[in-house]
Amino acid sequence: MATAQSTSILPEELEESGREPVVAVQDIHKSFGAHKVLNGINLTVNRGETLAVLGRSGTGKSVLLRLIVGLDKPDSGSIRICGEDIAGLTIDQLGGIRKKMGFLFQHAALYDSLSVADNVAFPLLHHNKALSKSERADRVSQLLLEVGLDGNLDRMPSDISGGMQKRVGLARALALKPEILLLDEPTAGLDPISSREIDELILKLQKERQMASIVVTHDLFSAKIISNRLALLDQGNVLIEGSFEDLERSDIAFVKEFLKQ
């Protein structure tokens, strides 16, 4: 069994060893009013590694992702992205770091007034201004092809299925060639076949792009397939961290209960 205490590597230790993690979350606390969501959480993710974050609803998994991408600010603690502490950075200063990250929202969060192609082109239009219109269109087609979509370029997000919306969201998240991919429940609300297709897609992208990924999910099967390491959250902290087999071998009652699902 591997517990959070035994496997979490503090950023200082990794710096000393010369191998700094791409994402290092250290002693993060976050409350909403009187409700404490995260209670001194520590996590690290290295290049090419996929960490699945599991836990019951309301344990702060999505909040953790929002803190990493800088959409919310932690009450205390530090978050280092590619070695840079993002605490205290302004929205414009965060921009440079956010370009290194791709974020797939739980409900895809596609821009409903833009077509599928324009959704994927949106980050390119703002950050790759040197690209010509035709180059941008080629890049969009290539990204959509990469996530298994072809021939749906001019349709609006409301006209495509939930699974396709997730794929478009993923293509948009990949548009700026991120080093870190954050996925918030990528298979939530999808049928089992679509879920497996998304899992395979994530695995394929991981192999091809070697990104550091954090996947928040309730789907144990999906977590087992796509991640190298899992972290189970409970009461605002990492209860256990390790491989799926480590979790299976755990004697902790909550872990056993969670794996029963």
Partner: protein, 283 residues
């Protein structure tokens, strides 16, 4: 009744809350909460304005989105503003003719119409129409984007939403309000003259010459340019209400309503200050 029972009743009365005091306590608690919310709202509005200002003044500038918003606020509001201006022109014409006839001052009709439309009614009617159409539109659009995490997605894509969404919309309102006011004024004067010409012969040339006789730029420019402040108020409040929305479809509806109600209210309050300011600075 026994002594024990009397004592028990008296004790209960002592322990029971005074019914006269309860409503006063409840009212004072509500009043304190209302005052707290009031100042919190203004504080948050101030912080929001500072973020928009800082984002809007620093590059990269969102010119493409600004042009889209100029079209959205300007061109698409033009028919409504023209119609409202035309209606006001006819109403002022009918009212002025009746009132001026009673006092034997019919010759003052062109000047009355011109000054009423350009200095008073044109700007405020344009402001209210734009507040209704554009304020509600911006409030609902941004609120819908907020509750569906689209604004978060913009921010996560390393794009500043205060610059892309708020600064462009507020600037478009500021730039377009004076132009729409000129259009409303022109329509109001045309229909006002036309309504008068139907009753009594009055050439357009005569109407213009008499109406603008002795007029200086100071008489017409400040009332038209003050609508830039209206535009700022409409845009700022609509963006603020939209981008702070919570609570799904209900929240979207509330944001749209508040954008119009608060926008119109602050616009009229600002008008009081602006009219006095113009009278003092441009006598």
């Amino acid at each position: 009744m026994s002594d024990t029972a009397v004592t028990a009743v008296a004790a209960n009365r002592r322990n029971a809350p005074d019914r006269r005091v309860m409503p006063i306590a409840a009212i004072s608690t509500s009043a304190i909460a209302f005052i707290g919310d009031f100042f919190e709202w203004f504080g948050n509005l101030g912080i929001f304005f500072w973020r928009v200002l800082r984002a809007g003044l620093t590059p990269p500038y969102e010119c493409r989105e600004l042009i889209r918003q100029l079209d959205e606020v300007g061109s698409k509001s033009l028919p409504l503003v023209a119609l409202a201006g035309s209606a006001i022109g006819v109403v002022i014409s009918l009212e002025a003719r009746y009132s001026l006839s009673r006092f034997g001052a019919k010759s003052m009709f062109p000047a009355t119409l011109v000054y009423s439309v350009i200095q008073v009614m044109g700007p405020i009617i344009t402001g209210l129409v734009v507040s209704g159409r554009v304020g509600a539109g911006i409030g609902a659009e941004l609120a819908s984007m907020k509750v569906t995490e689209q604004i978060d997605a913009i921010e996560a894509s390393a794009i500043n939403p205060y610059r892309l969404l708020a600064a462009t919309r507020i600037l478009a309102c500021i730039l377009m309000l004076p132009l729409l006011t000129i259009a409303a004024d022109a329509c109001g004067l045309l229909t006002g003259w036309f309504a008068q010409a139907l009753v009594e012969p009055l050439s357009f040339h005569q109407f213009v010459e008499s109406g603008f006789k002795g007029a200086t730029l100071n008489a017409f420019l400040p009332p038209t340019l003050k609508t830039m402040v209206y535009g700022f108020i409409i845009g700022l409040i609509a963006c603020f209400q939209g981008m702070r929305t919570r609570g799904g479809a209900e929240g979207v509806g509330r944001a749209a309503t508040n954008s119009v109600v608060l926008g119109s209210l602050f616009l009229m309050l600002a008008d009081v200050v602006l009219v006095k300011f113009i009278l003092v600075v441009f006598p």
